[in-house]
Amino acid sequence: MDPIALHYDVSGTDFTCAGEASGKIKKALKELGFPTSITRNVAIAVYEGEINMVIHGGGGVIDAEITPECISITLTDQGPGIPDVSLAMQEGYSTAPDNVRQLGFGAGMGLPNIKKYTDEMVIETEVGKGTTIKLKVFVK
């Protein structure tokens, strides 16, 4: 099959809608017949990225490219960027304010979790410019 490309805009102000794009990607993968474990891993990783984009990055865009062998996801925002990526990758490190914690997030688990559920994870970030996270999950 030809690669399937999906594109979603993610609002930076509407927490209620956070997860809409991840849900649609998950649904698309399911309909294409990918195994449950693959759809779940991709869904969890993209959802963590989408939530980060909303609570830290001021919204952005998510692009997915799907082939039978590999699911590639790119999450891009024009937010504040991440000053210290290796620190941000540590479990438990979070700059999320209290109001985010009251919503059930901000444990500092998102980025490590994305790493856990994907085969490749590349973070490109510049303070004051924004963050791009590229993910790959291989099928097989």
Binding site: T16, G19, S22, G23, K26, Y47, E48, L103, F105, G110
Partner: protein, 116 residues
Amino acid sequence: MKISEIKNILEADLICGEEFLSNEIFTACGSDMMSDVLAYVKEQAMLLSGLVNPQVVRTAEMMDMKCIVFVRGKQPDADIIELAKERDIVLLRTQFEMFTSCGLLYKNGLKGGCGR
């Protein structure tokens, strides 16, 4: 354990998902932190939570969970219920608090599994 049994044990009200009440649940997890659910939970079919917002349903969706129990009598709003209906997720509401809810289910044979 069938979702209908869980409903009985927790003396819970059914909010939506009547058609799935005969589905089986083998393990559950209780948390108000969706971050932790996403990070630590493996193959859980049910989530108990005192947190009520759309992200609870979305977290369940991403993790293929079939049922959410809102503890302490928390009532989700219409948008949350709609979200759950679209995703075939059963919503229950119990007056018991988190500790008691989990204890009752555990005593009746439902297993945990949160953790690594």
